[in-house]
Symmetry: C2
Subunit: 143 residues, 2 copies
């Protein structure tokens, strides 16, 4: 059988804390998102996984849920390609490799990238976040 609620309570609690009613759909999507380590998914991908797992959910709900989770701090949205949003289950401070040839996004281990200097924010603004994306292409043969 399926074992519905494994390391599940934490997520359930976080949903409640965020004021999100723990519905069948949200719990199902949360399980897909959070039960296999860090992930980077698009809405379409997650929708596909849910369908494949016979978890009836509409695409609109997948979008709603991803945005609600993001607002609640359970996910982080990463923009690397025009016209496609990735959602990252790792909400800690970190940056990304983006494989341009495959469209794959990958976390960069915490400390191996850092800013030497952060410029001052223009007057009237404050830094909301710093995104660093290292774009990778397939290696050309040795020079």
């Amino acid at each position: 059988m399926s074992s519905p609620s494994r390391p599940f309570k934490p997520v359930l609690d976080r949903l409640k804390k965020a004021g999100l009613r723990p519905t069948r759909q949200r719990l199902g999507l949360a399980r897909l998102l959070f039960s296999t380590g860090d992930r980077h998914v698009t809405a379409e991908q997650l929708f596909g996984e849910a369908s494949a797992a016979d978890m009836p959910v509409s695409l609109a709900t997948v979008y709603n849920t991803l945005h609600q989770f993001t607002a609640a701090g359970l996910l982080r949205e990463v923009v690397v390609e025009a016209g496609r949003s990735y959602f990252d289950t790792n909400v800690h401070d970190h940056h990304h490799f983006f494989h341009e040839h495959t469209g794959q996004l990958q976390d960069i281990p915490g400390t191996s990238v850092a800013l030497a200097a952060l410029p001052e924010a223009p007057p009237g603004t404050r830094v909301a976040r710093v995104d660093i994306i290292i774009r990778l292409s397939a290696d050309r043969a040795a020079d």
Copy 2:
């Protein structure tokens, strides 16, 4: 009045060098793009400017041209928001402020931001580019 070909030959030459036939449309768009210092434009914006300047050009051509210029190294594409591409006339090594509240993109002066350490590229890949985007929000009143 309008003085059609001021600091124009350089662009014309660059187009030729890139194998792009210097057509009416491409020259016109190049003038809009390159005659007023560094800019960050979207396709729709540029299309609007061309229309306003009585420069007949279709939206499809604006898209084609922006991509061809980018491929030729005259422009650089910057992705900060899902579903909208900015094209930057500054192709030198630099990074960006992004004003989340206005959608405005702004160059960060060359040296005021730099990486302390660049992680090794995963096997089989090489670093194509590093994008740093500092996202700004409106300053909340003094803490």
